[in-house]
Every structure is written in C-alpha cells, then in structure tokens.
Subunit: 276 residues, 4 copies
Amino acid sequence: MLVRQSSPSQHTTVTIAGVPVGGPSMVVIAGPCAAESETQLRTVAECLTRLDIRLLRAGVYKPRTSPYSFQGLQDEGLQLLHDIKRAYGLGIVSEVMSVAHLERACEVFDCFQVGSRNMQNFELLKALGQVRKPVLLKRGLAATIEELLGAAEYILAGGNQQVILCERGIRSFDPATRNVLDLGAVALLKRLTHLPVIVDPSHATGRRELVIPAARAAVAVGADGLIVECHPVPQQSVSDAAQALSLDELEQLVRETARVAQAVGRQLPCPVERAA
Amino acid sequence: MLVRQSSPSQHTTVTIAGVPVGGPSMVVIAGPCAAESETQLRTVAECLTRLDIRLLRAGVYKPRTSPYSFQGLQDEGLQLLHDIKRAYGLGIVSEVMSVAHLERACEVFDCFQVGSRNMQNFELLKALGQVRKPVLLKRGLAATIEELLGAAEYILAGGNQQVILCERGIRSFDPATRNVLDLGAVALLKRLTHLPVIVDPSHATGRRELVIPAARAAVAVGADGLIVECHPVPQQSVSDAAQALSLDELEQLVRETARVAQAVGRQLPCPVERAA
Amino acid sequence: MLVRQSSPSQHTTVTIAGVPVGGPSMVVIAGPCAAESETQLRTVAECLTRLDIRLLRAGVYKPRTSPYSFQGLQDEGLQLLHDIKRAYGLGIVSEVMSVAHLERACEVFDCFQVGSRNMQNFELLKALGQVRKPVLLKRGLAATIEELLGAAEYILAGGNQQVILCERGIRSFDPATRNVLDLGAVALLKRLTHLPVIVDPSHATGRRELVIPAARAAVAVGADGLIVECHPVPQQSVSDAAQALSLDELEQLVRETARVAQAVGRQLPCPVERAA
Amino acid sequence: MLVRQSSPSQHTTVTIAGVPVGGPSMVVIAGPCAAESETQLRTVAECLTRLDIRLLRAGVYKPRTSPYSFQGLQDEGLQLLHDIKRAYGLGIVSEVMSVAHLERACEVFDCFQVGSRNMQNFELLKALGQVRKPVLLKRGLAATIEELLGAAEYILAGGNQQVILCERGIRSFDPATRNVLDLGAVALLKRLTHLPVIVDPSHATGRRELVIPAARAAVAVGADGLIVECHPVPQQSVSDAAQALSLDELEQLVRETARVAQAVGRQLPCPVERAA
C-alpha cells in the first residue's frame, strides 16, 4: 500500500498554501465551525494573524444530522472565504461533501477536508485522487486504523500524494465527552504511515474546557499538528458552540502547546512564545 | 419530522416492483453480495422464483475498504441485472454510492440501496429525495437511532416518501461476530417512525451459521422483512464469502422465518410452507 | 475447556428447584428488580403462580452505582424471600455479590445470580465452583464471548457443572436504549457451549415497551429462557422502574413468547396458552 | 458526593510509602505485570532505584480470563515482595481481588490496587473504605466517568479518603490497540474530582512501541502520574509480554516524560534529567 512507510524515517510533508504539515514544525489550523459573516471571519483572521497561525478552517458546506439544521452559507460562504483569503493571506482548509462541491470550491480552498461521515465515501475519495491539492482526511466515527489507511489509499492510488490524516475522536459508551480522543491511534499511525497526522481536539472532546489539555496531549504523543475550533463569541456560534474556544483561549492553546512541542523536539512557530 | 409516526397505527407501505414492504406480509430480499456472472445470477434467480422471493439483491457498485479489492462489475453488472430482471421478472435492490451511479442505475434498479458507509452522505440523500423510486437506507456502523431518522428525513424532506430503514448490525468490542445485531433498535424504530424497517442478518452476524437464527429473531421482534446474502457456491463468493447462505440454506431460512412470522401475526408468502 | 460442546448435540440441563433449564421447554424467571415488601412479593408470587411461572427473581443485595442508592433489603429481604418461597413453592433466583452473601443466602436461594459487574470477580466465581447449586452467570457490560466462557469455566473447573449463561445487553454508543441486546451472541453461544443460555430483555433494552418484542426475539434466536423484571406498580419500583413490566404485561409476554417458542420447536409450559 | 471538588483548587494528595501522589511532582509507579522470581524483582528494583522511582508495581494475585492461566504467585509472591521492600525501601502497589487478599496483603502492600474487572465489586470497595491505606482504583473496561466516581465514592463514604483514580484504556471496536486510552476522561476527571488521577499507558495501548508516546500524552494532559509495566526480559514475561517495557525503555520513558512534565509545569524527580 502506498500509505505505508517504506522505512521508519519516511515522512511526507504536505504543504498547504506554503505551510508545511509533517515537517519539524507543528501546524495549527484554527477557525470557526462554520463561516457565518464577514465580521466573524475578519475577527478570527486578525487573531490568527497575530498568533502567526496561517491556516484558517471555516465550513461553508456543513454536514448536519437534521436537514432542518443550518447547512452552511454555501456559495455565499465561498465568496466570504475568497475575500478573507485575499485580505489576510491565509490558507483555507474547508470541508467538501461531494464531487460537486469540489469543483466549485477549487479556487478558494487550499486544502479539501473530508469529514468523518464521508471517510468511506469512496466516490468522493476517488475524485480527490484526481485533484492536485492537499486533502485532510478525518477518521470516521467508528473507523478502524486499517479502514482509515484504506480510505487514504483511495486518494493516493488516484495519484494525489498530498494527504493529511486527522484523528478527531471515536464513538464510545460514555456521554461525558462528545467522543473519545484516540491518541494511541495517532502514535500507531506515525509508525504505520509516512503521511502527516494531525488531531482535532475540539470534536474529540466536545467541551471547551477540555480542548487545551487534549491539544497538549496530542502534541506530546507526536501529532504533526492541530485543527481547532474558535469563535469571537463562542456562545453565539451557529454550530458546535460548546466546543469552540474564545480567541483568548486560542492564544492560550498556542502558548501551552508550544511548550509541549519544544519538550518533544518539535517547533511551533509562535510569536507569543518567542517573545516570552 | 416527517419520519415520525403521527399515531401508533401509522405505517407506510413502500412498494418495490409490485412487492409491498411494511404491510401485513413479511418481505424477503435475497441474492449475492455482488453480481459476478450471468450464470451466478441465473442460478440465484431460479432459486428465488422457486421460493416465491420476488426481490433480488446484487451489488454492481461495491464499497470496499481497499481500493485494490473488487469494486463491482459496474456497467457490465448493470447490463447483467437488466437481463435477469427481464428474464425472471424480479425487482432489483442494489446499492448506489454517488449521484452519478443514481443516474445510470435508474432504469435497472427498482430500489436504491444506501449502504452503511454512506448513511450520512447527505448530498446523496438529497439527490435521492428527488427521485421517485424506493430507497433502502442502511444504518451506519455507529449511527444512533436519531441519526438514522435524521438521514431518512433528508430523503423525505426532498419529497420522496418511499424510504425503508434497515438495521444491519453495529460496531462493538467483540470480534466474535462481524457486527452486533441491534434488534432493540428495530423494536424502537417501529414505535418512532411509520417507515418500514427491515433487517440484514448477513452483515449483522458475518457468519453463515448465525444468519438463520438472527433472521428468526428479526421477524419475531417485528421487522417488516429481511435482506439476505446467498450464493450458489458461497465459498466462491468474491466478497463476504463467510456470511453468504447456500441456496439450500436460503430455503431453510424462508421456512423457519415463515413459522415465526405466523407466530407474530405476520404472513410470509412461501410456497414451501404452504405445501408443508 | 469444560464449557465447550464435545458435539453439537451436547446440551446440559440445569435444574433450579425442579425446573429444568436447557431442555425442550422454555423457562421464564420473573419478578421485581428488588424485594421491597411482603405485599409486593405476594402480589408478584400470585401472578407467577397463575401464569405457571415457577421461578422468582428478586434482589436483596443490589449493586448500585452510588453508595447512597438503595442497596437492597439484605437480611430482611432474605427473610421475606424465605417466607414467599415456603408459601408459594417458587424457586428463588437472586444475586450474590460476595462470598459472604453466598454463605448467608445458601438456604434461601435456589440459584445464585452473578451480576454483570461481577462477571470477572474471579474469587466469587471460584467460591461458586465449590457450591452445589445452580449459578446464573450474566455477561459483563463489555465482556467478549470468550471472556464469558472463561468466567463460566472458573465455576466448572471448581466442580460445579450447573451454570446458566445470560445475555443481558452490552454497552454501545447509542443512548436510545439502555444497552444493546446481542442476540447474535446467543446464537453463537448455543454453538460453542453445552450450557443453557437465557436472555434478560429488561436490562437489555431498559424500556418497558421494548421488553416484549425483545423477549420474542430471544426465544426465536434459540435462547433457553428469559429472566424478566416485573412489578405490581412499575412506576413505584425502587429501582429500574422504566423497564419493569406490569403484571398484565408479564402475562402478555408469556402469551406472545409461547407462540414463538412453538414456532421454533420449543415448548413453554403456559396455562394461558393451553387454555387458548 | 465526597469525590467532587468543592472548588477548582481543591486537590487531594495521597501519600504511598512517603511518596506524594497528586502534588506538584509527577509520580511513576513501575514494575512487572506479575512477580515471578526473586531475580526478576531484584533486577527491576535496582533499575527503579537508579531511576529514582520509589514505587514498585508487581502482581501476586492475577485476574485472568481463563482459570488455567497463571494466577500469580500468591503467598509465595507476598513473601518475595516483603523481602524486596525491605531490601530496597520501595513502596509496593499491588492488586487485591477479594477481601481475603486484603487481610493477607495488608502488611506488605503500601497501596491496594483495584483492577478494572473489580471496579464495581462493591463489597471489595466497602472493605477498602475501612482500611487506612491508599487505594489505586482502575477504571473499568466500559465504565463511564460517573461510574468511576461512584465506585470511588464507596471507598470515601466508608471513611478512607486516600483514593487514586487510574485511566487504563477502554474497550473499542478497533483491534489495532488493546484498548483506547481516554485522555479526555483524565482532563475531565481533574475538573470533577479532587482525587489524584494517574494513567496506565501499558494496558491502554497493549503495544510496547506505543507506551512511551502514550505516557508523554498522559503527562501533557495533566495526569498526576503513571503506572507502567516493565520487565528485565519483556519477551519472557509470564503475562502481558507485548506491552512490557525493557528497563532501558523505562529509562527512556522517564527521560521523555520528565521533559513534558516540565513543559506543563510539573516536576518529575529524575536523576537522569537532573544530570542531563
């Protein structure tokens, strides 16, 4: 399989809008669950810029359990992201749910995210094998490591080598947290595949107060980066309000994970830390 | 929500190629995991006809963990199913994995199956809301009942009321069986929704010797029908060989479930039983 | 291993107070979650007698998540069960949680139940290997089939062959039902072990309205019997109120499962059915 | 409940043989799965002494799935631990499976471990509420956080406040690792209870090569310590051979976790690090 390491030292670096993922530096991707308004995105973008975070996440196509829940701003959201990208020079990481989205989003997104529910949407994976952009592939809610690697293989087999894997919590019996962050899987993946592996501590825990500790743990276990939800006013987030960090908390996350990154021999390009 | 019962007596009957699902009679849908050859399909079709089973399942688009596994006969398989349908007058129930499949398969399939991995492929569900054919929606590997109902709601909200739900086993910690058949969910669904609910005992157990007992239990709990994998020579099945029934075993399943159906006040149109 | 079948036809019958479990007849064990009062037990005992159910379940030692919840009537409950047993001639099936309980309860209980939480309390299992009374061993909340068989082996290895296994639902990700009834496990156990296997549809579903369908399914899959919670006034049950059947519902359960038992070639000694 | 924090700053320190658990320093408890021989224990004890680890784990009563597996050296093991303790001045942390063990082991063990399988052995918990020694309570394989806290409450309610909680991995659907290390639970527990919380990365992953990364993550998330399996010759371990670290690997674990501990503001008394 193409996803497997040929040797323990084989590590692929995937570059999103000039930002390397999988190299010596830790990467942080941050932003709101959903793009909501120009004001929201600008406030977040300014914060990211200040924290030296260069990749923005923000959904415009939202997979929702109910058809009556907010489905994302879609075309309007694409336009907003287009403008933000131009204004702030941020790379855009955002979810696509079908081949149709992919075509539309190609000019705006710098990295196509495949969500948990679509991890085995093989037709979408095959289409992503044909594009020449990075893909962030999230592990399914009950996907085994072998299934995650199999899903990535669909993209690599199509000719696209730029795949980043993402652990975002799996389903368990305990309602205390939204999901269970499986960091053993991250450690294992780093030994099985040469692809970068990042962690989403926001969906993994589903609770704001647990996101920073989970992020520290992810860095300590050896993850190549983090994708985190934040919002100017978390309580007003149209979706996933309970897990979004405030922008102050995002800064705290960057500071705390930077220290852990150093302790495990990784760098986190972080002006906050540099100044400290 | 449109999927919810307005009263305990509200039960929708969905008709596939003239066969009612959700009415007083139990329905059996049977056939191989994948369409493999004309000979294979003819042998199965003759058996179904003899057992008075009028709905054939057979995959031509196969979702597989690895991109290097057999992906189904695709266009060639469509042609085979088209010929079999004409020759034997069977209704065809078969999986679609993308909107593109849907367009191609529309003339051959009498019921579009959405597999577990695509239960929350919302773009596919929205497209299926626009067609005027029955949809068999399988529960995801780790989908809650609320998520299954939400997925069905996407189709109903689009205007297509012909949805059949299918319990096919969920993921658990025990490797002893492939999945865990969740019949409590079936009993619960029959109290929450007016839609028909059928059971797939083949994927739920993954072991040939457990399929018939599981099928009996499904009928006893109140399921409206069964979808079962069988093969002329199970050991030679290109996929899911361990769980395919032989044609003799399929006959035994029909005989045994017919008795249970009668015991719970359901009918199973079964010449074997009638003759006994 | 002593628990394994030497041949597919090897089936052990365990006799509790004269009632065979594992033979041609289905057995029903019924009663309240906890012994609460003489009036409660007499009302239940009279109902059981009328329904020809000869085994009463009623806890006097209750395993509870919180130390501040009702822990059972203990010694007082033992006395109540002793009196009921003498008055109605019922066999008593009740839980023991430690070797100390075992010594006290020996004169009153006809079958020692080991609860899910104690399935791998190996010291208790070893002690039960030394007694000469039947043991009802419930599957742990997340126990594999191999672990359940291993636990039973502890008892058999000690010299006590009178072990009945009980599937009572396993933990899953879906809060819709209390647990997930794993009937595939029952079908599998009947092929792996010669020991009788019964089902607890009350704990498996945790919802009164699902208990009867689940019981029907259990009989259909091939279980040797049922253990069911009932209460004269379910809403007033000190524990597990949501899953206790009323006595009328218990009668309905007996009637409906009797029909299924007949359909699968089993008998249920049931005057209600005989009279019908 | 006594286990709950009265304020976010309430943190209980439990002292085992003079070693504080829950204070500013991280604690490491290490040793073989089972006490096997004097030579084995001496080799381990010398290594621990060198690494400034002052608490030895080593089982003499072993809970095993099969009654035919090695059950621990029992009385002979107690004697071995007694001698090691005297010779090296190490504190002993070891499992008890019944009240009877407790009485025997009281003179040798400095901390009674309750294993996962006995987390809800309430009679054992009640007995441990009466002793005046620390208790290490491991989370059950499928125990919710509320159930773990309820189990601890049994001990506290009995009058023993010296309880340490331990996350050791929960059951999941993926056979890739033995269990799933639930570090979100650790972060949550630190916000719910004043009791110390440690992590067992050995059972959580079940694979030697994942133990050190998992240990780093546990420290980063905020755990108060680690309990780790090691063996002079891991391949020869009578139980859990796949997850035991070599003594060199144990040294590496101490070194790597010490750095992470510093990064999160914790100390790890570690001569290796001090010398570096």
